[in-house]
Symmetry: D2
Subunit: 303 residues, 4 copies
């Protein structure tokens, strides 16, 4: 299959969405990104790598970091994680406190903010440096040693972080936080503020298309663990539009309000698309359109 050609077509489809959606502006640092940027990369399990547009341009990965904190927390600590966080879709916006209140401080899944705070807390306990572990993993898999956290974004997140602070304190009030609230939030803001390109993320996620094996052949996750992470991405990876994403794109995917979406074709490849304008659910309009085109044109989806 000529992937490069399909990416070129997908980019055209994505660019036709110009003007739709809104760039995230809840923190000033994010609002400065060029609204019509677009890039897309594909990495295959057998070593092919291609891309279109701004595919080597770093952007703020935001919630895509939640995928890597989850994976590293499982890799270091195994299934103990699931005592403190569930695996069900939330049916509510990504930063909701409502379910936390009725469900005793156990977040629904690791990909809503509350769940990612719990996962960050566990990874911090396991490694001593949660944000550093995520950064180092991304650097290693992408072979991009310059990849790192944007300090301005991290500071901006912290300065506008009352809602995440509310979530963290609420979780702590239920005894579901091992570390100190401010320290855990610090790591959370640090890994959300990592900047990486479509290329970097497609490479970094490739172990999920290789049943848990890293670029160097070593095993990060067991085969069943890798499948299960893909399952959680599918049911919970795109905020409260997971059903829509499964319906339109048909791949496990994790999105971020920086405009990136990382998707997995199990056994075969990863895709990462990026465009800053977001739909009402917080997912990139252009990246959704590009991924939709890719799976429709190729017939490659998990369904």
């Amino acid at each position: 299959m000529n992937y490069q050609q399909i990416l070129v077509e997908a980019a055209e489809v994505a660019r036709a969405t110009a003007g739709q959606g809104r760039v995230a502006d809840y923190i000033p640092a994010l609002a400065q990104v060029p609204a019509e940027a677009f890039g897309m990369a594909l990495a295959t399990a057998d070593g092919e790598l291609c891309g279109v547009g701004d595919w080597e341009q770093p952007f703020s990965i935001q919630s895509i970091s939640k995928l890597f904190t989850l994976v590293l927390a499982i890799a270091h600590g195994g299934d103990a994680l699931w005592k403190g966080v569930g695996r069900e879709p939330s049916g509510n916006p990504f930063n909701s406190l409502i379910q936390l209140e009725t469900e005793h401080g156990i977040p629904r899944n690791p990909f809503i903010n509350a769940g990612a705070i719990v996962v960050t807390d566990r990874l911090l306990r396991l490694t001593g440096d949660a944000a550093g572990a995520v950064r180092d993993f991304l650097r290693g898999e992408s072979e991009n040693p310059s990849l790192g956290t944007d300090p301005e974004v991290a500071a901006s997140e912290a300065a506008h972080g009352h809602r995440n602070a509310a979530l963290a304190h609420f979780i702590a009030s239920h005894g579901n936080l091992l570390g100190d609230v401010d320290t855990v939030l610090g790591h959370y803001y640090q890994h959300c503020a990592i900047t990486a390109s479509c290329r970097d993320l497609a490479l970094a996620g490739l172990f999920l298309a290789r049943q848990g094996s890293r670029a160097d052949g070593s095993r990060l996750l067991h085969r069943s663990q890798a499948k299960r992470v893909n399952a959680i991405m599918l049911t919970c990876g795109t905020y409260d539009a997971a059903g829509e994403f499964a319906y339109r794109v048909g791949l496990p995917g994790k999105s971020g309000v920086g405009g990136g979406i990382l998707a997995v074709l199990p056994g075969r490849a990863t895709l990462c698309a990026w465009g800053p304008r977001l739909d009402a659910a917080g997912n990139s309009v252009a990246a959704m359109a590009a991924l939709d085109h890719f799976t429709t044109a190729t017939g490659l989806s998990i369904f």
Copy 2:
């Protein structure tokens, strides 16, 4: 792959769950089924059919009928259906009124009771006989002309149906029901009360593994429609345990409180397992265990 051997093993795993869970007893007719019955069938896209245990024993399909009402409503009416029902996981128990209230009478998805009532209403409008359309389709695909509705179960559902009546009236109060409440509910109870065996259901669902093509080669759904039905099954098919089912089993599936679960291996096969005891979320304990074993042992899952 020796499917028969794997089904034999899966049945052993399922039987080891004896005594776990509870038979549905909200209507008397369902409570009379033998609690430790178990059957499992597999049908492949290229015509193989095998089974173990009580795989030819008819049982009450209950919510599995929602899959077929959905498919037939799409086949007859296309995407117009989605104006009245969503495609997102509900995050709430299957008969919840809460989301209906905050979301203006548009049920979250076609597999919660509220959504299936809307779908039944549309299928009734499209065909004039919603329950008959489901029954006839199942008869045709399974080549089992004796398959039909259990009148005692249907009457029992109606007699204990205040909650479904509440849902239907509430939907009607928002103008989202085309037909008369009592008529729509009558068809809903009729198709839920169909009895069919694991064999029948595995055959009837096979078009979902064949990208929309029926047993006779005719097309029921377009390829993309079939994929999308599989996507909705994965995200919404097993009540508020869809995340857990995706995590453990990793296949699109639809369950019913009669104890059956129908699952799809896209491009390859369907599986139907049945055991009356249910877990807290309303899914069969034995069927879950058997399907979990199948995908673990074969490595066949969509992830």
Copy 3:
């Protein structure tokens, strides 16, 4: 105190609200009332009666009937009523299903629709004719034998009653309805569709200002029961604006979407004001303004 003079002033204040709010239009029969009508009556415990404007003009009492069903259910059956309905403010709009779902079919209080359906059910069981009992009581206390139900309004309520039917079926699904859903709803619509004037209602409510004693000196409620009904009116009588009504008016009161509000000055008098335009919470703008003026000008309130 020259009550007549104060009523004249209150009517001026009320008329200054002309154009504010909207006449209830959820049923066509209610929408036909003259929007700028206004009347107000005062009846004292020692026999004085006065009024201004359209105070002898009958209007649809709607939810004010809930006060009389409650009082008659207590008078006939005592405290057994409270097993099936609570006494707390709901904090949600008057026809909400949400609390019913989380609170097992026990409505929060007798003045939300769900609670009034339960009270109607109990009064039906106690008297054999719930709507007739309310009508006969109002006729007797007001010495107005022509007072009765508007059949057009009752039919219109029934025809647009899906939401109340949803409530009733939901309550029945929790086993909290003794009678048949349709029969109970029939009586509910009948008593809501009674037409009475400000004069009639002020006289009919006077036993609440006389510690439970009727016009003929006989006792309808014990003294403590009468006080407690006043307490429930204050905390729950004006939908989800009970706090605002207590804050502004400072009297126990019960409102209806027909635009009437009946208020009680314990030990002293009753007031009934009427104006069809409603605020967002469903209470009459003009009646609220008139009652607010009355308590401010006289200094008479319970606080």
Copy 4:
């Protein structure tokens, strides 16, 4: 009326509840209080003061402080307060986040924790020392210069304050907090941790029975403001049991988890009762029973 005699009887009724309910133990400092302590004081508008039992024993006033922060915020800043906090019963437990989420960070009323945090914030802005203002007011009205904050309780509240911190951050995320979260919470914990006796509180609340006039004859609130504070106490003063309190006791009242309840007989007197054991809603069992006896025996209630 021989108030002293009625207090003696009320104390007997209260002591008959021994063993019922549980002493608040969410902070260790509160759990150490003698569970069977009981006191009750009455102060009249014309200067009478009497009491029974431990009526001069200081206890932790906890949420009763919310009444005084409210009153002082109104006295210093007037009605501007109501832009940031509502006046409706919440229908949910006192520390709920749910309504904050659906109602954009505007707490339902000043007596739930969220509302009291907003009021504390405003009082801090108005006076520069919110906790000091409350303490000084209580000292002045009670003529008890030794009255003050228990530093151990305040420190304990702060150490176990994750839920209040969650509320404050959530309110701040909606822009409804003028001051710094930690500073506002510090003042909140300080005024909740004030210790005062039934005697002190009955005297301090007397302005509410005197239409806004303080002990020295100066005016703290306008007459209408005082009435309105009484109205808010009635509809919102006893957590989610305000309906029950109005029904049983029939007076405006404000309770605290330290076991105290301060109640007002407008125009006549104040009552303060104290017993550490709490019912499920967080109100003192003994104090409720004593106040219930008082209003039943005397016939004095607002209804």
